[in-house]
Symmetry: C2
Subunit: 215 residues, 2 copies
């Protein structure tokens, strides 16, 4: 399809698509003349993922390019890259307090939690990956502010997170190609985040209403 | 306690505390001389909540003031305000596409989901509250990008959110005063958000490893 059709099908303006092409977020189309290129369904899928990362995930363009690169680099045509891509999703750190006592304690808590849950992937990261850093950061912040954040308090969260991960990967299982499954896994990880937070807030409001007859 | 002690106990600099006082995020201390004031444990709790909202929740100062006001305004000394405060937590909207076909469809999906779950609080909001808007926005974005977002796909998320809300309110149940419980409920709603997202990402990495032997 031409650029104009790609724009129509994706709902993304041609100017924005051209920007993504320039920035290397979208692979170039197949040249069919000096100033025309042909785009395929793959471009449409990739464009949806780019929108998810930048628009919903609020991930800067340069970091989005890294996430896409971690998906593309090895073993094309297999799902082996899904986990690496999810792990590479960046986040905005809350505090620049590396190595303070709260961070050290949070690292211990997280290590104990991951061991308890048997999450080899997280343990293997040993502090290098954004998802792991984000967890340590979140625990350290809770601790610093004096809120409960020991392993027993975190366990119900880990259990629900594991159930949702199973659900997400079941959702993408029926997609046609490994490429689509890899892209959908990363996109859904990001796109379901605001959904989950919104539902948890509404569930909190509802639980307050039931307990305190409020709201 | 004096300002310096409040600063030491909270880990927040005196300059930042003064800024919060000026902005009305923190109630004034009790004047004990022309240029000294006395602060109480209540100030320490409120300060922790302000940090949670602004630092972790990345909520602008003006909006944080609104959240605090919604906690304080009615029925002091009871938990009736918790739900209203959680519902009032602001979020950054993803798209300025009010009333387009995806938003209209998302409103229908959300209404059906809330009815199915029996969440009266959410249904009552009928579109006015941030948590409800955030949910509609998230569903419309999934739909616009062509990802699954019908009621059956959202139900597992709603179920886990409800379980976590029960867990959160159990955690705060043991706190001494209604004031503390109200503040902790709002603080934990915000502070556990990055924790939940981090755990879900790590759980995704782990589930990929198990399914695809990756990462």
């Amino acid at each position: 399809m031409r650029l104009s059709e790609l724009s129509k099908k994706s709902g993304v303006s041609t100017a924005t698509i051209k920007y993504y092409l320039r920035e290397g977020l979208l692979p170039p189309g197949e040249r069919i003349s000096t100033n025309q290129a042909d785009y395929h369904t793959d471009h449409l899928h990739r464009l949806r993922l780019v929108r998810a990362l930048i628009h919903v995930g609020r991930i800067p363009v340069a970091r989005a390019r890294e996430v896409l690169a971690s998906m593309d680099e090895d073993k094309p045509g297999t799902e082996d890259r899904v986990g690496a891509a999810i792990e590479a999703l960046p986040y905005e750190p809350v505090n620049g307090s590396d190595g303070d006592a709260f961070v050290v304690r949070a690292q211990g808590t997280v290590a104990a939690l991951l061991a308890q849950e048997g999450w080899a992937a997280g343990a293997r990261s040993s502090g290098n990956h954004p998802a792991y850093q984000m967890l340590v950061d979140a625990v350290a912040t809770l601790d610093r502010l004096g809120y409960p954040c020991d392993v027993p308090h975190l366990t119900p969260y880990a259990a629900r997170a594991a159930e949702l991960a199973v659900h997400d990967l079941n959702v993408i299982q029926d997609l046609d190609s490994p490429e689509e499954r890899v892209e959908a896994a990363v996109a859904l990880t990001v796109l379901y985040e605001p959904l989950l937070l919104a539902l948890r807030r509404l569930a909190g409001v509802e639980e307050c209403r039931r307990r305190y007859n409020s709201a």
